[in-house]
Amino acid sequence: MADAVQTKPARSVVSFTAAGLRRGFASAQPLAVGVLAYGVTFGLLARDAGLSVLEAALMSATVYSGSAQVATVGGLAAGAGIIASVATVLMLNARYVLYGAALRPWLGQVPASEAYASLYVLGDGNWLLSMKARAEGETDAAFVFGSGLAMFLPWIGGTLIGSFAGDLIAHPEQLALDFLLIAFCAAMAIGLFKSRADLWPASTALLVALVANWLAPSGWTIVIAGIAGAIIAYLRHEDAR
């Protein structure tokens, strides 16, 4: 059966199975702890802003974006209107446009319902984990959904805890849980950094992030750095051949 060896690289076969979902769910568990702590913080903020437990949990389950929710709840307390709140969410979530675009070659191969369900629970940490898993040969697109759920559920759980009984819990900053995503990004970036070809996108992103952060520190730094890195990789692609 020597001719059976002629198999294509895994990139072309994409599945969406319970096994892939479980793999994704398990891989995101360490990050889920940080999400839970952040959720508690949001729950506390929401309670201080006058949101009921139900309202806070509903917001976490529908808007599902830490920075955007903190900003809009703060805005609500200050009397911000619906248009200002929507603009805030669009600005703080602009990075997801890039995340979704990068998932297209993989997630675009499964039925739309599965793809959009996965996108509904997409977050920073699980996007990074998924892209890393994909680069390492993961073919099952349910990995994205599973790792997303692993962070979506503690976000809602944390919100409930925070708005019910937030005072019972120590400040997450004392446990440095606010540093967890940054720590994961730093470690994964070092792990992902493989060849000289990565030097250009990484150093461009670093430079652009420094400038953006210096000019106007905001959620935009991530988007601008990500797009700058992608553009450099696009422009330099022929050199790699």
């Binding site: 974006s65 619906i82 675009g108 070092i190 890195g229 990789a233």
Partner: protein
């Protein structure tokens, strides 16, 4: 357990805005042919985003975070495990904040 009806239009608008961001890039890529060059750009995005997340934290120049990043780099070199390295980094930051009375 109350739900103010006047909050619902706002929540609906925010939900749509949030999902539009999540689904928008994915949907738009329907109309883009992913050439190898485009694939290279998309593949470079995660590393660039990670740099974009870490850089502002480092640029703030707080000793606990800087120390944490150094520990992550060192542990990553030793163990090649991003889980071990990042937990070591978080523990370092927690200890440094505690000993420096930052929080």
């Amino acid at each position: 357990m109350t739900l103010r009806p006047d909050l619902l239009p706002l929540l609906l608008a925010l939900t749509l805005a949030s999902f539009a961001c999540r689904a928008g890039g994915f949907w738009l890529m329907r109309f883009v042919i992913v050439t190898p060059r485009m694939q290279a750009a998309l593949d470079a995005a995660p590393l660039a985003v990670m740099v974009g997340i870490v850089t502002p934290a480092a640029a703030r120049g707080n000793p606990p975070e800087l120390l944490g990043l150094v520990v992550i780099a060192a542990v990553m070199r030793l163990t090649r495990s991003d889980l071990v390295a990042s937990l070591a980094g978080v523990a370092t930051v927690a200890l440094a904040r505690w000993s420096l009375r930052v929080y």
